[in-house]
């Protein structure tokens, strides 16, 4: 059950967030904060995107002081292309995806 681009609104939100700085490695909580997605929604999306080769993931190289190592994510070249194409097709927001608020309602992302 998806958007016309083939991605759900939530997936488009994640793609848009990652696409904003495609070369930067991002961590899950940062993406969740930016997109407003809950962890139970965000991580399945990241898993599917990684399964499809659109997102690559790795652990932080070094053990930071005072917190566990984070798992980091960024778009692959295929992911950048797919995200650009999907976001261009997203008519709801003229290129930016719908966003799920903490109450589960879809709303338009104003960027």
């Amino acid at each position: 059950m998806a958007h016309r681009s083939g991605f759900s609104a939530q997936t488009l939100a994640v793609l848009a967030d990652l696409c904003a700085t495609p070369s930067r490695w991002r961590h899950g909580y940062g993406i969740a904060r930016d997109t407003g997605l809950k962890s139970g929604t965000l991580y399945p999306i990241l898993i599917r995107l990684a399964d499809r080769g659109l997102v690559e993931a790795r652990w932080e190289d070094e053990q930071p002081a005072g917190r566990p190592r984070r798992h980091l994510y960024r778009l692959t070249p295929d992911g950048v292309a797919a995200a650009a194409a999907a976001l261009a097709q997203a008519p709801a927001t003229g290129g930016t995806p719908a966003r799920t608020t903490s109450r589960g309602r879809r709303q338009v992302v104003a960027r």
Partner: protein
């Protein structure tokens, strides 16, 4: 709150251990991020999402569970259809019907997975698929029970059309299953809210229709006050049933967003109306056919039916409805009801779809302030 958080961390760690290795890393990642999330309810929600993730990603176990449930439902239905007295003319058509349906229901998800992708991961899609398949099996189960009585002496209503009716029934069931799978596939054009709104509305309409005429006939009340109340309820029920796909279509179209093209919103309205009509028909068909199937065996139901619907004469196996001529025997009546529900199953989704698309086209959702 701290102790609850610790419990959730322990639960997440434990459930992550159940995942395949390639999935466990994601649960570990989510757990590692938990310290970043502000303590309290937000961290608790984050961890709860992690537990949800592990449940969701334990897909081999879930798939095994679905397969086992499907096998159990198919076996139970088959066992029920298989049993019957020797020479009962309903037994062979029933067996063929159930086997064919089980094969169709087992094969369709495979075909749809290739064409439209796997099932959407959301709860609505899972509920629709599970509930829909359960309803289809239940309908076959009660229909075979009705036919077993209908085809046996002294009723002998099978006739030469039994196989044709069976084939038509199977085609309708396959259509329902295909519709359910198409609407809940990952690459479906229906957004989850459309399916959820349509299905919930349809289920409510189906239960209402069953309550107003559980055996397929309008009820009869002796007192003027209850009769008047029932008539008013009937009129209200009919109006609600007609309005339901329109309302579902409007809601779905508006939820699709005002910036979506009109065609997309109309499509969501059509799919919501389709879900409403199909679900209502399926629910009322299952419940009413089950009540009809119980009638020969349940004396309480017979007494109630004699008071509120018509006369029951078990000695000759005849059922005379107060609306129909005496020639309508009980089983012939049942068979007619079953055929009637088949018509309902075919027409209702089309009507719902039509009303829904009109509602989708009519949905006028002006841009709200603060959005672009």
């Amino acid at each position: 709150m701290d102790w609850l958080t610790r419990v959730m961390v322990a639960l997440l760690r434990r459930s992550a251990g159940l995942l395949p290795a390639d999935r466990r890393v994601w649960a570990d990642a989510l757990l590692a991020e938990a310290d970043e999330v502000p303590a309290g309810r937000r961290r608790l929600a984050w961890l709860a999402g992690g537990v949800r993730l592990t449940v969701r990603e334990a897909s081999p176990a879930r798939r095994l569970g679905y397969a086992a449930a499907f096998a159990a439902a198919a076996a139970g239905t088959l066992w029920s259809a298989w049993s019957g007295p020797a020479g009962d003319p309903a037994v062979v058509p029933n067996r063929v019907e159930v086997i064919s349906l089980a094969v169709i229901l087992a094969g369709l998800p495979w075909a749809f997975r290739r064409a439209r992708g796997p099932a959407d991961g959301g709860r609505a899609a899972r509920l629709v698929r599970t509930g829909g398949y359960a309803a289809l099996f239940a309908l076959v189960l009660v229909r075979t029970a009705v036919e077993r009585v209908a085809y046996a002496p002294p009723n002998n209503v099978a006739g030469s059309g039994a196989w044709t009716r069976g084939a038509l029934f199977l085609a309708v069931m396959a259509g329902y299953a295909a519709g359910m799978l198409a609407l809940t596939a990952r690459r479906s054009r229906a957004v989850p809210a459309t399916v959820a709104v349509g299905t919930a509305t349809g289920a409510a309409v189906g239960v209402l229709a069953f309550a107003l005429g559980p055996l397929g006939f309008p009820l009869r009340f002796t007192g003027s006050w209850p009769a008047g109340l029932y008539d008013a309820a009937m009129v209200t029920g009919v109006l609600l049933a007609l309005c339901a796909p329109v309302v579902a279509g409007l809601v779905a179209a508006r939820r699709a967003g005002h910036t979506q093209p009109g065609g997309f919103r109309a499509g969501q309205g059509a799919m919501a109306g389709l879900c409403t009509g199909a679900t209502a028909a399926l629910v009322v068909a299952v419940l009413s056919t089950a009540a009809i199937a119980l009638l020969p065996y349940d004396t309480g139901l017979q007494h109630w039916a004699a008071t509120h619907v018509g006369h029951w004469a078990p000695a000759v196996g005849q059922w005379t409805a107060n609306l129909g001529p005496p020639r309508i025997g009980y089983v012939a009546g049942n068979s007619a009801f079953a055929a009637g529900y088949l018509v309902v199953l075919m027409v209702s989704p089309l009507l719902g779809c039509g009303f829904g698309v009109l509602a989708g086209l009519a949905a006028d959702d002006p841009p709200r302030a603060g959005t672009s």
